[in-house]
C-alpha cells in the first residue's frame, strides 16, 4: 500500500452525508455562541486540546444532537514542530535522532523506517546481524507501544488498574533499551547502514528472561479485561468501521486488520529479516473496538514469537554495512514504508545529490488513521468518543510532526 499521498485529508471517499458536507460551514459555526442546552438542534462541543483523554494535544469538535454524535472535526497542529522542514537543513545522519520524536512511543520503529529508507536510497543493505538486532528491538518496541496503548485505553474506559500493570511491565523493555543504546524513550537505536552498538553482554539473557516473564503478564491483562462484561459492553459494536472504508481512507495497522483486511507490511512487503520468521497476522471480524483490542493483544504474543526466533537464530557478523563516511545519496526519490505499531509508517525522500535531503515527507499512520474518527463516531454517544480516540491509538507527535 505505498501511496504517494500528499497532505490533503479532507477529500475522503465517504463525504456524502449532508452534515459532513457542511464541514466548511462548521468553521463558521464555531464563532457563534454556544446554543442553549435543551434545543433539539445541533450542539457544538469542543473537546481539548487540554483534555485528560485525548492522548496529547488534539482538539475534537463534536457536533451533537442531544447525546448522539453527528460528526466530528479534528483540529490538529498543536504539536507541529516543522520536522519535515528541519530535515531539509540537516544531513541524513544528523536527522536520525529527529525521527524518534515523531511517534515518541515507538521511537525504534521510526528509526528503523528512516534508516531503511536512506539505505534504499543509497542502495546499501544492512548486514544480517544488524537486521536481526533491528527486528528484536523493533518488536520489543511494538510490545511497549501496545502496552502503553492498553493502559491508557483502559483508563479512558474507566479501568484504572491495567495502566499500572502495563507500565510496570513496560519497564523491563525500557531497561533493555537503556542498556543497549542509553535511552529509554527516544532511542536513536539504529544508524544508516546498520547498528552502531553491538549487543551488550547479557542482552541475550535479558531478552530471554523477558520472553519468559511476559506471557503471564498478557494473561493478567486479559484476565482483567477480555471477558469482563463491562468491558465487552463498552467496546463491542462501538466505533465500527468496515474494511472497505478503511481502504478508502488509507487506514492501516491494527485498525485495518480488525476490520477484516489481511494486510501487514511485514508479510506483504517484508523488510529487515521479517521474511525469515514465522508468525501470524491476527484478523478481526467486526471492526469494532473490541476487535482492535484483541488484534493488538494477539500481536503482542506474536511479537514474542518473532523475538524468540530472532534471538535464537542470531547470526554472527558485522553490524554495520558499507556506508560512506559522508552520506550523499544519488539523485532520486524513494518511498519506503514499514509496519509501525500504529500502522504503515512511510518515508518519502527526494534527494538532489547533496548531503541534505531535498524533501523528506513522513507518512504517519496516526495522521491517516485519525480520518477514520469521523466515520467511527457517527451515531455513538459522547462517552464513546473517548473510547474511539483511544482505540485508534494515535500519538500527536506523529500526527502533527
Amino acid at each position: 500500500m505505498s501511496s504517494h499521498t500528499t497532505d490533503s485529508t479532507r477529500n475522503t471517499a465517504k463525504d456524502t452525508t449532508s452534515d459532513v458536507s457542511n464541514r466548511a460551514r462548521s468553521h463558521l459555526d464555531l464563532e457563534t455562541p454556544e446554543k442553549p442546552y435543551l434545543d433539539s438542534n445541533e450542539l457544538i462541543i469542543n473537546m481539548g486540546p487540554q483534555h485528560p483523554a485525548t492522548h496529547g494535544v488534539l482538539r475534537v469538535i463534536l457536533k451533537l444532537d442531544g447525546e448522539k454524535v453527528l460528526g466530528t472535526e479534528c483540529v490538529i497542529g498543536y504539536l507541529h514542530r516543522g520536522v519535515e522542514k528541519i530535515a531539509e537543513n540537516r544531513t541524513y545522519t544528523m536527522f536520525n535522532p529527529y525521527v524518534d520524536r515523531m511517534d515518541y512511543v515507538a521511537a525504534v520503529s521510526n528509526g528503523l523506517g528512516y534508516c531503511e529508507a536512506v539505505e534504499k536510497l543509497l542502495n546499501v543493505e544492512a548486514p544480517p546481524r544488524a537486521k536481526y538486532i533491528r527486528v528484536i528491538l523493533t518488536e520489543l518496541n511494538r510490545i511497549a507501544s501496545h502496552q502503553l496503548w492498553l493502559g491508557t485505553h483502559a483508563l479512558d474506559i474507566g479501568a484504572m488498574t491495567p495502566l499500572f500493570y502495563t507500565f510496570r511491565d513496560r519497564e523491563e523493555i525500557l531497561k533493555i533499551f537503556e542498556r543497549y543504546c542509553g535511552a529509554r524513550l527516544t532511542t536513536h537505536a539504529f544508524r544508516i547502514g546498520g547498528c552502531q552498538y553491538e549487543t551488550y553482554a547479557g542482552f541475550e539473557k535479558e531478552v530471554k528472561n523477558f520472553l519468559a516473564f511476559f506471557p503471564p503478564k498478557i494473561d493478567e491483562y486479559e484476565a482483567l479485561l477480555t471477558t469482563n462484561r463491562i468491558w465487552l459492553e463498552r467496546t463491542r459494536n462501538v466505533g465500527v468501521i468496515s474494511g472497505a472504508d478503511c481502504i478508502a481512507l488509507g487506514v492501516t495497522g491494527p485498525v485495518l486488520r480488525a476490520s477484516g483486511v489481511k494486510w501487514d507490511l511485514r508479510k506483504a512487503q517484508p523488510y529487515a529479516a521479517y521474511s525469515e520468521f514465522d508468525f501470524e497476522i491476527p484478523i478481526g471480524t467486526n471492526g469494532d473496538t473490541y476487535d482492535r483490542y484483541m488484534v493488538r493483544m494477539v500481536e503482542m504474543r506474536q511479537s514474542l514469537r518473532i523475538i524468540e526466533q530472532a534471538i535464537n537464530g542470531m547470526p554472527e557478523g558485522p553490524i554495520m554495512g558499507k556506508v560512506p563516511k559522508v552520506i550523499k545519496p544519488p539523485v532520486g526519490e524513494i518511498y519506503h514504508s514499514i509496519e509501525a505499531p500504529k500502522g504503515e509508517l512511510g518515508y518519502f525522500i527526494v534527494s538532489d545529490g547533496s548531503t541534505q535531503p531535498y524533501r523528506l515527507r513522513v507518512r504517519p499512520p496516526s495522521f491517516v488513521n485519525l480520518q477514520a474518527l469521523d466515520i467511527m463516531v457517527r451515531g455513538l454517544l459522547v462517552a464513546d468518543v473517548v473510547a474511539v480516540i483511544g482505540t485508534l491509538d494515535i500519538v500527536l507527535g506523529e500526527v502533527d510532526r
Partner: protein, 429 residues
Amino acid sequence: MLNQFMSYLGSNVTPGSANNQLWALIYVLIIFAGVSVAVMAMNWLERKALAHFQIRLGPMRVGPHGLLQPFADALKLMLKEDIIPAEADQFVFWVAPLIGLLASFTVYTVIPFGPSQAVSDMNIGILFMLGVSSLGVLGIVVAGWASNSHYPLIGALRSSAQMVSYEVAMGLAVVSAILMTSMKTGTGTLSMLGIVEAQQEQGIWFIFKFFPLGLIAFVIFAIAMIAETNRAPFDMAEAESELTAGYHTEYSGLRWSLFMLAEYAAMIAVSSIAVTLWLGGWMRPFPNLLHAPAWDFIFSLFPGITFGGLAAIAFIGTARMPAHSFFKVQRIGLAVFAALLGFLALLLLVIAVAGRSADTSLAARFNEGIGYVYWFVLKVAVFMYLFIWYRATWPRYRFDQLMKIGWKVMLPISLGVLMVTAIVGVLVS
C-alpha cells in the same frame, strides 16, 4: 439531668424507646464522631488499597504509611480558597452540600449496632432510611443547578436519574427481605431491630433463607447500592475523562469535602442496611448452631484478637522501617500507634475474659455490647472493602447502559424475586 443519665444505665432498650433524651443525644454524638472517624479511615483505606491493587504504595510520607494523610487532606481542603462562581445562586450554592450531608447523617439514627445500641428503634426504621436517602438526591440536583454551568447541571441530573432508578430496585429487594421477617410470627416488621431479631428467631440469616431467593435479593441490593452512591462501576456522572464533569465541579475546598463526606457516609449507611437485612446485623456467626458458653467466649475474644492483629501488623511495620534518621519520627509515630492498638486489644481481651462468667456484671454487659458493635462494624467493613475493590478492578458503564441495567435487568429480577418469595412464604407457613 442526672436522673436521666442514671436511669438509662442498665436498660436494654434503645434510648428512643426508653424516652431518654440525654442518652439519645449522647448516642447521636458518639455516632457522629464515629462516622467522621470512619470516613477518614475509609479515605485512607481507599487510597492505600487502590494503590496496592495498582502495584504502588499510596501515601507513605504524611505520617507512617500515610496514616495522617486524611488529616492533611482535611486541613488542605479547609484552607483552600473558597471559590464561588460569579453567577451562581449564593444561598442555594451554600445549602446544597448541607442537604446531602443531612440526608446521609440522619439515617444513622436508626442503624442498629446492637439490640440496645441504636439511637432509636423507629417502628418504620427501614422505610425511614430509604426515605431519607432519597432526600440526598435533592442535594445533588440542587448542587448541579447552583453551579450555573451546564456541565455540572447535566452531571447532576444524570447522577440523580441514576440514583432514582436504582432506588426502585433497592426498594423491591428490601421488601423481599421484609417479607421474610413475617415467616415465624405471622406479622412482619419494618423496624431495623425487629428485622435482626426475626433473623435471630428464625435462626438463619436472610441471605440464606429460601435459598437462592435471599441470595438473589441480596445481590440485587448490593448492586443497586453501588449505583445509589455513584461509585464505580456506576460513576460515569463524576468520571474525570468524560465531558460532563460531575455535580461537584464548581465546589472547592471545604464544600467539596462535605460532598465527599456525604458520599462516604451514604456508602456506610447503605452497607448497614444490607448487613441488617441480610447478614444478621449484630449477630455473631452461628449463634444457634454453636451456642455453648465456650463458643460464646471464643467469639467474644474476636474483637481483642482483631485489634491485636492490627497492632502486630503495625509493630512489624515499625520494625521494617529503614533505620535512617529521616525515618525517626515516622518510626516513633508508628510505634506509638501500634502501642495504642495493642493497649486497646489488651483492654478488649480483659473485658472478654472478665465478662464471661457472670451474666449481669458490668464487664459482661460491656462485653456483650462490644461484641454486637464489633460484628456489625466488621460486616460493614467487608462491604467497604468490596466498594474499593470494585473501583480498582472494573471499567465504567456508559450512562445509557447503566440506566438500561437499572430498569431492564434489576427491576424485573427484583419483582420476580419478590413474587416468588411471597409465594414460597405462603406455601411454607
